[in-house]
Symmetry: C2
Subunit: 329 residues, 2 copies
């Protein structure tokens, strides 16, 4: 029986099978002329699953007037694409049924992850640094104790809206140190975190799956050109050293922000063990080291590929467990 | 004789005649499928100027590999559109001739403004808060003493990359206070400063000339919806009070940043008089008040419409003066 988990975000849709053999990452932005319905049909035709378990965060995309409209669009796209049974996981990590509120399906991909982590690893702070955001979720007595909406998690430091690829550097940086002094930065979308981490060698060009800010390529020169624009310079005006230093300051800033948010969650919940997942595990490990916390890596336990699509994998595994042990939910 | 000044930015092209009777603002983004060449032809046909004086900042747009490519594209577009003589002002406030370097035309619109201010008002800090950026330019002995490139001005606090319309709120804000506590914010481009200032009544819908972040309208509900998304909320999740407070915090943050940058320039140059221009004069006046500095308003001296397109007006006036008093440059 082939069970597929699907995690539908605003920018990326991730697929994993419960046995971990199928792992796919599709760049399908929702916010403009989205191809989600057709892409899901292609996925259905290719993978022919027997059951599908869905988590989503894409309902926040600003093509939707509100989250309910987003949730309904995503559900309709999934249900029309797949002939088989489709099930949806809510922010408590449970399957949606007609007694629950549709709105509880909003931004629930981390709830699937933490349900699996809670049962397989136990109490910890689950930290997933993905392409766009960072989830910092406390798990106690095997269950997450996080806020149930993105808004609530932003207040509780359980959501830090920065990731490994799609984050505008203007969001992370205030000023940067360059050879000539402290430098203000541009507020345009001139470069993303993907540019910084590609230049630093923390991600490969293959992992740079989002669009570039200027629509140009992903070569080293293209990347350096984008990073130079962050201080309104072109490559004739700024040294390669300064450009590398800008990238390094992005990384330092993001790791120190991660430490701050993890600290808030750790103190509030009396937890000091981290489970790390996502494309940005390298940052989480460094943050854990600085804080003196144990860090269990999803990539090391389940493999690199599964770490990058962990909510989709968790969704598939939760459905598989539910079928083999019905009623245990 | 009709002399027209043109200020070609990355997002907006502004037009003013030397007599101040013609004032136009055109939204012509350069970064994607730009219509600049055709739009300039329309302007030429309609205004039929005898001479054109040009300043630019649009060469930084990331459709250009470097600034030289941007400058050449803009010059070609202007020269092909106008049959009359066209002249370009460089970052020293002088007209470009073949002995100068083309690169000195980059980001020089403030140099035109400060040449006119230097001769008509005298020593001061000229502060122009436009749609996208804030120039903070020291004028001493009638001449600007600022850095000659955007990069250099960012280091010297003479350029603060935030404006009244197009600035992503994620750049300005770190956290915001809401009823439930201090809240992290999203790094997406969910709302611009235009949304905050429209809601606060500091600009009118007519002045909100840039695109909205979500492509939706500019009604109060549309605006509030965008501001709510900055904390990942929709209108069912956050109170109108919280939304107004977010807008107020944007304004407070931007004014306090302005105070900081003006202070740096004031101390370095021993100046304590401000001349304010641009759509954001309301912020400059408040900053001047807090700092106890005299503030001379371009809007009050030359009129509101001229204040909004001051570099274009200054470019036209400089050319007019040059013709009536040749050799005095």
């Amino acid at each position: 029986m082939r069970i597929i988990g699907i995690d539908i975000g605003g920018a990326n849709t991730k697929i994993a099978s419960a046995d971990g053999k199928i792992i796919e990452l599709h760049y399908i932005p929702l916010w403009k002329d989205t191809t989600l319905p057709e892409s899901l049909e292609d996925i259905a035709t290719e993978l022919k699953p027997d059951m599908v378990s869905v988590v989503m965060t894409g309902e926040l995309a600003d093509c939707f007037e509100d989250k309910l409209e987003g949730i309904q669009f995503i559900m309709r796209s999934v249900d029309e694409a797949f002939d088989c049974k489709t099930m949806y996981i809510d922010s408590n990590g449970h399957f949606y049924d007609e007694d629950s509120s549709l709105r509880e399906l909003a931004a629930a991909n981390w709830a699937a992850s933490t349900r699996l982590i809670g049962s397989e690893i136990g109490d910890c702070i689950f930290v997933d640094v993905g392409s766009t955001t960072s989830d910092i979720i406390p798990i106690k007595d095997g269950k997450h104790v996080a806020g149930l909406t993105d808004f609530s998690r932003l207040v509780r430091s359980e959501l830090f809206y920065a990731g490994t690829l799609r984050t505008n550097l203007a969001y992370l940086l205030d000023k940067v140190q360059v050879a000539d002094g402290h430098c203000n930065i541009s507020s345009e979308l001139f470069a993303n975190t993907a540019d910084a981490y590609l230049l630093l060698g923390d991600i490969t060009e293959e992992l740079y799956t989002c669009e570039t800010a200027d629509g140009a390529g992903k070569s080293k020169t293209d990347t350096m050109r984008r990073l130079a624009r962050v201080v309104c310079a072109d490559l004739t005006e700024i040294s390669p050293d300064d450009i590398y230093n800008i990238a390094a300051q992005v990384k330092e800033r993001q790791i120190s922000h991660l430490c701050e948010t993890i600290s808030v969650v750790a103190e509030k919940n009396g937890l000091n063990r981290i489970v790390s997942a996502g494309l940005g595990e390298f940052m989480i490990k460094e943050a854990a080291k600085r804080m003196g916390f144990e860090c269990i890596s999803v990539a090391e336990k389940w493999g690199n590929e599964i770490s990058k699509v962990f909510p989709a994998y968790a969704a598939a595994r939760i459905l598989e467990n539910e079928i083999s042990q019905p009623g245990k939910e």
